[in-house]
């Protein structure tokens, strides 16, 4: 770990998220209690007022998401945290966030589902929901850290990306990571980058809230800046911010929203590899399950199998290109995910039928073990 970093703290993952959010400049949290994410809200309730920020426990999950977008439009760096059932409720206003281009970060500490499911047990079964949950076409950035140090840095990156691209960013943890305590060394302030949304340099009479002449991310003005008075709506709108049903304008704007992600892959994408250089048996895994996969890689290597891990830290947008490149050196790939098969569809779509894709899926609340993944690895080798 870098020398510029502070002392190692032994913290639960949920607390790591809260600490990192504040370090990233978060000054608003709107939430609603839900297991297993509630510690994030509780820690923010303690941290924020000490720093002049605001915490509010709203009347429901929907309201929590609304308050976060409202605060963001007024200039705040806003966070909310939830789990499956709450994430389902937040999706309506999440879509509004994409539409009006309000930067904010949503944490989903995934638990078993569907419905109330397994409130105190982990799963990774909301990954497709994160991509496609809200209605209509929309871009998605979803980040799946696996270690607490990474969670700390990726929480900061989630805020940075949301500010830089003016869009909600989803941080997907799961119950294992949320409640697991491990050492984290928070970097000292000033040793990491904090990005804030680009403000307009136009005077009020020239300002267009969705002005695309500066690129795909329109410069921002928070509410109450004298003279700007911009209109925000969830309806399809033109660059003035007012509703339009003009097919050309609607198409152009929706394509631009998608392009904020497709056109900034260098910024957004992040894949970690583990013993992948000479691997001929691949494992695709993310979040806490990827940690079991790393052990499986080690054990496979001890048995003479050249296994290697492909671990997306940014899960959405899906790292098609990186995975396709990696697949070229492989005899086959195991997709280890803590659900009944979701990301495997993306893997299959990416590698086509060039190599076998083995599913290692699981539900029931007990994480996939290294031994289980190793079993699948052996199916290929």
């Amino acid at each position: 770990m870098k020398e510029s970093n502070g002392e190692v703290k032994f913290l639960p993952g949920n607390i790591v998220v809260a600490e990192a959010a504040v370090a990233a400049g978060c000054n608003f949290f709107g939430g609603y209690p839900i297991t297993p994410s509630s510690e994030i809200a509780a820690h923010m309730a303690a941290l924020l007022p000490r720093r002049g920020g605001h915490f509010i426990q709203m009347e429901d999950e929907i309201a929590a998401m609304g308050s976060v977008i409202g605060a963001s439009l007024a200039g705040a760096k806003a966070l909310t945290a939830t789990s499956g059932p709450g994430f389902s409720l937040k999706l309506e206003n999440l879509g509004f966030g994409y539409m009006v281009e309000a930067p904010c970060v949503i944490v989903n500490v995934m638990r078993g589902g569907p419905s109330t499911g397994l409130p105190t047990h982990p799963a990774q079964a909301d990954v497709m929901q994160a991509r496609w949950g809200t209605h209509g076409d929309h871009p998605t950035i979803a980040i799946t850290p696996a270690f607490h140090q990474e969670t700390y840095m990726e929480t900061i990156r989630a805020f940075n990306l949301s500010e830089q691209l003016r869009m909600p960013v989803i941080l997907l943890l799961d119950e294992v990571l949320g409640h697991l305590s491990e050492g984290v060394r928070p970097p000292k302030p000033g040793t990491f980058e904090i990005i804030n949304r680009k403000m307009t340099d136009q005077p009020p009479d020239k300002y267009l809230p969705y002005d695309t002449s500066f690129g795909d991310v329109p410069p921002f003005v928070p509410y109450f800046e004298p003279g700007y008075h911009w209109h925000t709506t969830g309806l399809n709108h033109d660059e003035t911010g007012f509703p339009t049903t003009n097919p050309e304008l609607v198409t152009r704007d929706e394509e631009r929203l998608m392009r904020k992600v497709t056109g900034n892959r260098d910024l957004i994408d992040k894949v970690e590899y583990y013993m992948a250089d000479d691997a001929d048996v691949g494992i695709f895994s993310f979040g806490s399950t990827a940690r079991a996969a790393m052990v499986a890689v080690k054990h496979a290597r001890e048995q003479g199998i050249k296994a290697g891990l492909f671990r997306p830290v940014t899960l959405w947008p899906f790292p098609n290109k990186q995975l396709k490149d990696f697949a070229e050196q492989l005899k086959g790939i195991v997709v280890a995910e803590f659900n009944l098969g979701q990301m495997v569809y993306e893997v299959e779509r990416t590698v086509q039928s060039t190599i076998p894709v083995i599913r290692r899926t699981k539900v029931g609340g007990v994480p996939i073990t290294p031994a289980e993944i190793l079993e699948s690895v052996k199916e290929i080798s």
Binding site: G52, A63, L73, A74, N93, F224, G234
Partner: protein, 273 residues
Amino acid sequence: MPFDYMTYLREEKLPHMWCPGCGIGIVVKAMIHTFTDLEWDPSDIAIISGIGCTSRAPGYMDMNTLHTTHGRALSFATGIKMHRHDKHVVVIAGDGDMSAIGGNHLIHAARRNININVIVNNNNIYGMTGGQYSPTTPLGAKAATAPYGNLEPSFDLVELVKGAGASFVARGHVGNGRQLNTILKKAFDHKGFSFVEVVSNCHTQFGRRNKMADPMNMISWISDRAKPMKKFEALSDEDKTRCFPVGVIHEDVSRPEYTETYQELIDSLNNGN
């Protein structure tokens, strides 16, 4: 000199999309009079709405305007007010938007006593979606989804919000603009959550189905039933069920305002207490 409405209106967005004779225009007019009387700088006002005919009002108003999802205006408004408690936050919504899908947000904003001014244009119907019955449609009245007459009892919004703990509750109606100005001024000036129900007309969706297709007929039907509190109290029980009291119904200046309370917390934590 004629009254200047344009300080608070986006002239280029007119004409508006509402039906001729719609009550919403009267509400917007009263709001503009109130902003003018209180000398609120439009840059200091955020006006937030949900979905529906009434929720299109912010689009015509020249200030910070936010047209949100159905029923959720108050949740967005709460985030804005928390972050910028030094500014004016106004919510305008229809009866369906505010009391059906947004009902939970309404009672909790009232309970918190956060300084947001809520105006509900209550025309007893879902107008934009085609005349379905709302929580304020009178028992027996016809609606697109109540073709044989409404079977559901209705909300008294003023009593509902008062019961939820609002510190200022009032009712006006579109038949008396001058009175509405006075009520809104008191509401906007109130420190804490304020709620004003404006009994309004949707002759297109409600009136047509209930033998009041002409806006003036409908406004007369409203005006005839509106009684100042003292007169209302003197009515017979039977008349009370037909009429409604207007004016300031409840006002409590003793309750702490939520964002001020939160600021006190911030101050105390940062003064080493």
